[in-house]
């Protein structure tokens, strides 16, 4: 669900980026955050709460709220809303508190 036309803004989508989410291949664009790219691919559930396992998605989108923590390239607790999407990135749902490598 990307914005195609906007009265004020233009979006640079010159560089396509391939990444995976739970092993599924997806595309985003350079300049997008991981969470924004997932959102554009209609992935809204980014994790689950620790104890009741309730689904979690983006809440603040600027790195304050920790609602979007995921495992990125094997590293847990990554704030995906403020992490730039990179070519070949491996994005996964985190289980519990995550394992520190």
């Amino acid at each position: 669900m990307r914005i195609e036309e906007h009265p004020v803004l233009t979006f640079d989508r010159s560089e396509k980026i391939k990444f995976t989410f739970e092993g599924r291949e997806m595309y985003g664009y350079k300049g997008e955050s991981v969470a924004a790219a997932l959102h554009a691919n209609d992935v809204k559930v980014l994790g689950h709460s620790l104890f009741k396992h309730r689904p979690r998605g983006i809440y603040c989108a600027i790195g304050n709220c920790s609602s979007c923590l995921m495992v990125v390239d094997g590293e847990p607790n990554v704030r995906t809303c403020v992490t730039d999407l990179k070519e070949g990135m491996k994005v996964e749902l985190q289980k519990g508190k995550g394992e520190i490598r």
Binding site: R2, H6, K44, A61
Partner: protein, 362 residues
């Protein structure tokens, strides 16, 4: 440990102006921001600002950020910029610890300006943690920074300026706004924004709040109800909206953690949106080597954050031993600008909050 003349924590509107002001006074400035860009939340503000010419009224926020960055560049010999840098601690003796990229560091600034801004508040209702429920600012970031729609249909909670402006911007992005609700009996934002949105056919329901959010994994429906004079929901007044997005725009909380840690006096002032540092008229905290400017010292508009930043930067530089040649004139001018921004009925709450913060009215 590294010595610094003026350290600034946070490169949003207040921090950028503080940096420009302190550097123009002759101090060497270290400006730190946790993001990979400067400008803070200005970078997603596609609307034109109010205020007066001095605060770039009628200019879009995104363009104001560019203007400030150009001004910053004029003093580049005096300003060091550290992006992707998170300040982790501000200690009682003024020492700062932080992480820049992957590297841990410590600093001893002569003076520090804290301009960390604010974070969006949440609203309590069953299901409020469901994906599809965002802070209004988050929806704005998704749309205006990344060009991604938060969803198809939105219900906006909060008819303050942020709620009204983000609703308009959602429509600009091609998203349907089903309605705007606010628990208060009146619209909190400027009526000029509200009328524009009503003309576009969006109902604004005052005296309503969210009863519950319904959905399996993500939001599917939002149930609202009317509230009585005690803001309690009234049974039998429920209305259901089929929306996949609920935007929460019920205010911001100042990000005062660093100031609190440093031992500055902090007070809880609801009119200023939460816990705020006690500051004097020049935005000096109860510690003479720590200043606070922008939303962290009480949530207002970006225009007042900028003027507070200029003022705090000017005075912080003086404390560090660098008095601007036009110090007195500038200081008076900034005071006047702040006063003008807080004049009128819109500024009443802020004026009351500041009086409380200064220990007057309770």
């Amino acid at each position: 440990m590294r010595q610094v003349e003026v350290a600034i924590v946070g490169g949003g509107p207040a921090g950028l102006c503080a940096a420009i002001s302190a550097a123009s006074s002759g101090a060497h400035v270290l400006l730190m921001d946790r993001n990979k860009y400067l400008g803070g939340q200005l970078i997603k503000q596609t609307h034109m600002f109010f205020g007066s010419e001095k605060q770039y009224a009628s200019t879009r926020g995104i363009d104001i950020s560019e203007i400030l960055l150009k001004q910053l560049d004029e003093y580049k010999d005096n300003i060091e910029i550290l992006k992707d840098t998170t300040v982790l601690g501000l200690y009682e003796d003024g020492v700062i610890s932080g992480i820049s990229g992957d590297e841990y560091f410590k600093l001893k600034p002569d003076v520090t300006v804290v301009s960390t801004g604010a974070s969006e508040k949440v609203l309590a209702f069953p299901g409020n943690d469901m994906p599809g429920i965002y802070g209004a600012g988050a929806a704005q970031t998704l749309m205006n920074v990344y060009g991604v729609k938060p969803g198809q249909k939105v219900l906006m909670v909060g008819a303050g300026n942020i709620g009204l402006i983000v609703s308009y911007q959602l429509m600009q992005a091609g998203v349907i706004v089903s309605g705007i609700i606010d628990a208060a009996p009146r619209i909190g934002g400027y009526l000029v924004h509200a009328s524009k949105i009503r003309r576009m056919g969006v109902p604004i329901l005052t005296g309503h709040t969210v009863k519950e959010a319904i959905g399996k994994d993500c939001l599917e429906k939002a149930v609202i109800w009317e509230v009585d004079e005690k803001y309690e929901g009234i049974e039998g007044t429920e209305k259901t909206f089929d929306v996949d997005v609920l935007c929460i725009s019920v205010g911001l909380s100042p990000l005062v953690e660093l100031l609190e840690q440093s031992g500055c006096e902090i007070k809880y002032i609801p009119e200023l949106s939460g816990k705020v540092p006690v500051v004097d008229e020049n935005h000096m905290t109860t510690k003479p080597f720590i200043y606070a400017a922008g939303d962290v010292s009480g949530v207002e508009e970006a225009s007042s954050a900028m003027v507070e930043g200029y003022l705090a930067g000017l005075c912080a530089a003086k404390t560090a031993g660098f008095k601007h040649p036009q110090f007195d004139y500038l200081k008076e001018d900034y005071h006047k600008q702040i006063e003008a921004l807080r004049a009128g009925p819109q500024g009443e709450r802020i004026r009351r909050g500041i009086a409380k913060m200064k220990g007057g009215l309770r």
